[in-house]
């Protein structure tokens, strides 16, 4: 069973359809539940969301839910992972294209901001609601953080910079996370693409210094 993130974002199957092959029914139920957990937790907060809320939102029965997930947290983390997979799938090819490293950074930052801006609900779920799940937050944060620092390292390439700071990668990933998080909390996800010039600059400085970063900021501002 594969999860299609587009379905997660847009799934609106008419309820109570019958006569579909079992696998298809299950798949659609899973996707509806994953989409529902995103909407329900963003609307009510993780703590106040019940499995019943998710079922109501998805139009799926309780039994089917527990066939697919252990509990509310399991469902939430599954939705989180799909979104992270989708974001990586969107950014990785752009970042690993041919071209000078600062330029590839600028393009993939643009793709990242577009991704968050395209679906403010998913953005809020992805970044903000996750921190409220308790101890499981740390494990998920660790895994996702490692995933995106690895992506950054994978694309440094031979022409990439050789920064003096041991944790330059962490500073750059931290810059994106912190800045996007802040805009999403304030409900300004749709305006994220406007941040491209300043974020490109903030991202690049620890690696390449202010002068090169300024040049790339200008290119970002020029569009």
């Amino acid at each position: 069973m594969t999860d299609n993130p587009e379905d997660l974002r847009q799934w609106r199957l008419p309820r109570g359809r019958h006569g579909l092959p079992r696998e298809l029914v299950e798949r659609s139920q899973r996707e509806r539940l994953l989409a529902a957990v995103v909407r329900a937790t963003v609307a009510n907060g993780y703590e106040s969301t019940t499995v019943a809320d998710i079922l109501g939102e998805a139009g799926v029965g309780r039994e089917s839910f527990y066939e697919l997930f252990d509990d509310k947290l399991d469902c939430m983390l599954a939705a989180h992972k799909i979104l992270a997979d989708d974001l990586e799938a969107r950014v990785r090819p752009t970042y690993l294209e041919e071209g000078p490293w600062p330029e590839r950074v600028r393009r993939s930052l643009g793709a990242t901001l577009e991704w968050f801006a395209a679906d403010p609900e998913a953005a809020r779920f992805f970044l903000v609601e996750l921190s409220t799940v308790g101890p499981a937050f740390r494990a998920t944060f660790k895994a996702e953080y490692a995933r995106f620092t690895k992506l950054l390292d994978d694309g440094l390439g031979e022409d990439g910079p050789n920064p003096e700071l041991t944790r330059a990668t962490d500073l750059s990933v931290g810059a994106i996370m912190a800045r996007i998080y802040e805009e999403v909390v304030l409900g300004r996800a749709t305006e994220l693409p406007r941040l491209l010039p300043e974020l490109t600059y903030g991202f690049l400085v620890p690696f390449v210094g202010e002068e090169v970063a300024r040049g790339e900021r200008e290119r970002a501002a020029a569009g």
Binding site: E47, V128, S131, T132, G134, P135, F137, R138, A139, F141, K142, Y145, E164, L165, T166, R167, D170, L171, V173, G174, A175, M177, A178, R179, Y181, E182, V185, E198, Y201, G202, V205, P206, G209, E210
Partner: protein
């Protein structure tokens, strides 16, 4: 409050935990605080105040701005390393309770930092965004917590110093200060 949040997160902390930890009665608790959230907010406010005091006393007026910022950042990281529970609550739990808590740190810190580089009451030009640097430092510490390396917080010293110096001191000066911080750290402040 801080101890209990560090141990089992804010969500799982009860008033019973807090009064047991503080060895006070429930009645006394409610004399001081309306509820758990009010107590948490007060605890965060108190901790930020303590860290500000640590930073302020770590340097002297004779220091160059970059040196002063390095000393202040070092003192804060050392204070957090001595109380890992505090670092955990300030970067992790506080965000879950109030995502805008970071704004409170910033209001407490950025003006002090800016003042180090201000001469003749003029505002210094920013090389990089100090607000962004703050978020970067927070993510850095958050990752240290998530990966179970909270006991090795001092490892982050060069990066934290870099982030503290770079907004007003610039990239090159920040690298220089980070090197100085790295040297003092490897002199054996903490075993690797």
């Amino acid at each position: 409050m801080v101890e209990s949040c560090a141990e089992k997160t804010y969500a799982a902390t009860t008033i019973t935990d807090i009064v047991a930890g503080a060895r006070i009665s429930r009645t006394t608790f409610y004399k001081h605080f309306e509820d758990k959230r009010a107590c948490f907010d007060a605890a965060i406010g108190y901790c930020i105040g303590e860290l500000q005091a640590v930073a302020a006393t770590a340097h002297s007026p004779a220091d160059q701005p970059g040196d002063a910022a390095r000393k202040a950042a070092t003192a804060v990281v050392e204070a957090l390393a001595a109380k890992p529970g505090l670092a955990q609550v300030l970067t992790g739990d506080a965000m879950a309770v109030d995502p805008q808590v970071i704004e409170r740190y910033r209001r407490a810190t950025i003006p002090a930092l800016e003042a180090l580089w201000s001469e003749n009451a003029g505002k210094p030009a920013a090389h990089t965004d100090p607000r962004l640097a703050f978020g970067q430092a927070q993510v850095l510490i958050l990752n240290q917590i998530a990966t179970g390396r909270l006991d090795r917080l001092l490892e982050l010293l060069p990066e934290v110093v870099y982030l503290t110096v770079s907004p007003y001191g610039g990239h090159e000066e920040a690298l220089r200060q980070a090197r100085l911080a790295g040297k003092s750290e490897s002199r054996g402040a903490v075993p690797r």
